[in-house]
C-alpha cells in the first residue's frame, strides 16, 4: 500500500484540531503564511487556542482574523505589532489576549529543541534584560546564559511551495522562514502546498523538509490576494 499524505481539502486537513490546543503557524510578515489552513481552523469553531507565530497578523484576514476572533487565549511570538496589526493591538489593549514575547532566535531555537528531543538549552540572548526575568542564569566558560525550554505544539500549520505524496517539501524564497522548524516541532504537521509533484519529482539533494516530519498535505493553488 502506498503512503499518501495528501488530503482532498482544507476541512480534511484541519480535522481533529480541538479547543485548547497549541498551534504553530508559519510565516514572517506576509510571506509563507498558511492563510487557507488558518481560515479552516476558524471554520472549525475551536476556541481557547494558544498560537505560536512570529507575528500577530495584519489586515483583516489570515492570522489577523484569528487574532480578532476571540478564539485565541494566548500568543507566543517575537514581534506582534506592525503597521496594520489592529486586531491584535485591540485585543491586547483590552487585556483579552495573553502575550508571551520571545526573542526571535530563542523562539525558533526552542522549537528546534522540542523537535530534537533536547530538554533545554543555555542561550546568550536576553541575559540582563526583562525578558530573562525569572529564568535560570548560568555562567559557562565565562559567559552568562539563560536556560530556555523546548517549545512544542499539538499542530503546525505550514505553507510550502511544492510537496509530494510522502510529504517532502520545498519552499519559496523567504517564505521558507519558520516552516521547516515548525514542521519538526508539532505532533501533527499540516501543510498547504501550492503544487503537488509526483514522488521522485523533488531533487533529494534539495528537499528542505523530509517527509518524516509531515502528516497531511492539502493542495492550495489559488492566487487569492489576502488582506494581510
Amino acid at each position: 500500500m502506498a503512503i499518501d499524505k495528501i488530503v482532498p481539502g482544507v476541512a480534511e486537513a484541519v480535522a481533529g484540531i480541538e479547543s485548547g490546543m497549541t498551534i504553530m503557524i508559519s510565516g514572517f510578515g506576509f510571506a509563507g503564511v498558511p492563510n487557507d489552513l488558518i481560515h479552516g481552523v476558524l471554520d472549525l469553531g475551536v476556541t481557547d487556542l494558544t498560537v505560536i507565530s512570529n507575528n500577530a497578523g495584519t489586515g483583516t484576514e489570515g492570522l489577523a482574523a484569528l487574532m480578532g476572533s476571540g478564539r485565541v487565549r494566548r500568543i507566543i511570538c517575537s514581534y506582534p505589532r506592525s503597521k496594520g496589526s489592529d486586531n491584535f493591538d485591540a485585543r491586547y489593549a483590552a487585556g483579552e489576549i495573553e502575550l508571551e514575547l520571545v526573542p526571535q532566535g530563542t523562539l525558533s531555537e526552542r522549537m528546534r529543541a522540542a523537535a530534537a528531543g533536547v530538554g533545554g538549552f543555555y542561550s546568550p540572548t536576553s541575559v540582563g534584560t526583562d525578558l530573562a526575568a525569572g529564568k535560570e542564569v548560568r555562567t559557562i566558560d565565562g559567559r552568562d546564559y539563560v536556560l530556555e525550554l523546548p517549545l512544542r505544539a499539538d499542530v503546525a500549520l505550514v505553507q510550502a511551495q511544492k510537496a509530494d505524496r510522502w510529504g517532502n517539501l520545498v519552499y519559496s524564497k523567504a517564505a521558507r522562514n519558520f516552516g521547516p522548524v515548525m514542521a519538526m516541532a508539532a505532533d501533527l504537521t499540516i501543510v498547504q502546498a501550492k503544487e503537488i509533484v509526483p514522488l521522485g519529482g523533488l531533487d533529494p539533494e534539495a528537499i528542505v523538509t523530509p517527509s518524516v516530519f509531515v502528516d497531511r498535505v492539502v493542495h492550495i493553488d489559488n492566487d487569492r490576494e489576502w488582506d494581510i
Partner: protein, 232 residues
C-alpha cells in the same frame, strides 16, 4: 540441558533469514532506522507490497536495497558503510537533522544489533569493556532512547553458545528498558511488562529447548507461530 543437546532438532535461521523475518513484521508506512550489523540486511528483504521508509543516521531517508555489482556509488552508503540505492521520495540531509529525527521521536522504529538484551529490555551493544579493543557507540544510544520502538535483531547465543538474552547485562548498557521485541535466529520474542513472551519459534524448536538458551523465564504466546523464512 545444553545447546548441543537440542542442536539436531531444529535449524537456525541465516542472518539474511533473520533480517527477512523482522522486515516482514514492520507495519506499512513506517519510518525505520536500520542499525549496524544484521539490521542493515533488512533493506535487501523488505516486503514488496508495503511502503516502508528507511532511515540511516548518516543523513539518508528513503533508501533501497544494495546496488547491483558495478553500480556502487562511493557517496551512497548506509550506517554499516555498505553501498545502498535511493528510492523516489528519498532525501539527503545534514547529520544533525538525521539525529533530530532520531532523538526527537520522529522514527517509528529502530532495528538494532545487540551484545546482550535483558528480560527487562535493557540493551548492551556498544562495548565489551575489553580495553584491548576500542569501543564504538555510533548512533546506538541515540536510537535506543529516541525511536518510538526498538527491536533487537541478533543471534540467540554467542559464538560460544552462551545466552545473549540475559537476566542482567554484564556489559555496559546502551540504554535501560528500551527493547520491545527481539528477533533471533531461533525465535521472535516480545519484551512485556510481565516478562518475555515467545511469539514465534523455528520449526522443531520447543520452549524448553529455547529456554535452555535463554536466561530470563520465557512464556509461550497462545498463538505462537512457526518462524520461517525463504532460503537465502
Amino acid at each position: 540441558m545444553s545447546a548441543t543437546m537440542t542442536a539436531d532438532a531444529f535449524t537456525r535461521l541465516s542472518r539474511r533469514q533473520l533480517a527477512w523475518c523482522a522486515a516482514q513484521a514492520i507495519p506499512d508506512g513506517s519510518y525505520v532506522n536500520l542499525g549496524i550489523g544484521v539490521p542493515t540486511l533488512c533493506a535487501n528483504v523488505m516486503p514488496a507490497d508495503r511502503e516502508i521508509v528507511l532511515h540511516s543516521e548518516n543523513g539518508v531517508l528513503g533508501f533501497g536495497p544494495a546496488p547491483a555489482a558495478g553500480e556502487e556509488d562511493r557517496d551512497l552508503i548506509n550506517a554499516s558503510k555498505e553501498f545502498i540505492t535511493m528510492k523516489p521520495g528519498g532525501a539527503y540531509f545534514v547529520h544533525t537533522d538525521a539525529f533530530v529525527m532520531i532523538r526527537g521521536g520522529h522514527l517509528d522504529l529502530a532495528l538494532l544489533g545487540a551484545f546482550e538484551v535483558s528480560g527487562q529490555g535493557d540493551l548492551a551493544n556498544w562495548t565489551t569493556g575489553d580495553r584491548r579493543f576500542p569501543p564504538g557507540v555510533g548512533g546506538a544510544m541515540d536510537l535506543a532512547v529516541g525511536a518510538k520502538a526498538v527491536w533487537v535483531l541478533t543471534e540467540h547465543t554467542t559464538k560460544k553458545g552462551e545466552p545473549k538474552i540475559v537476566d542482567t547485562c554484564k556489559y555496559p548498557l546502551t540504554a535501560p528498558k528500551v527493547v520491545r521485541k527481539i528477533f533471533t535466529d531461533l525465535a521472535e520474542i516480545d519484551v512485556t511488562p510481565s516478562g518475555l513472551v515467545v511469539r514465534a519459534m523455528v520449526e522443531g524448536l520447543t520452549l524448553p529447548a529455547l529456554q535452555a538458551l535463554t536466561e530470563p523465564k520465557l512464556t509461550l504466546a497462545d498463538d505462537c507461530r512457526v518462524l520461517s523464512a525463504p532460503a537465502a
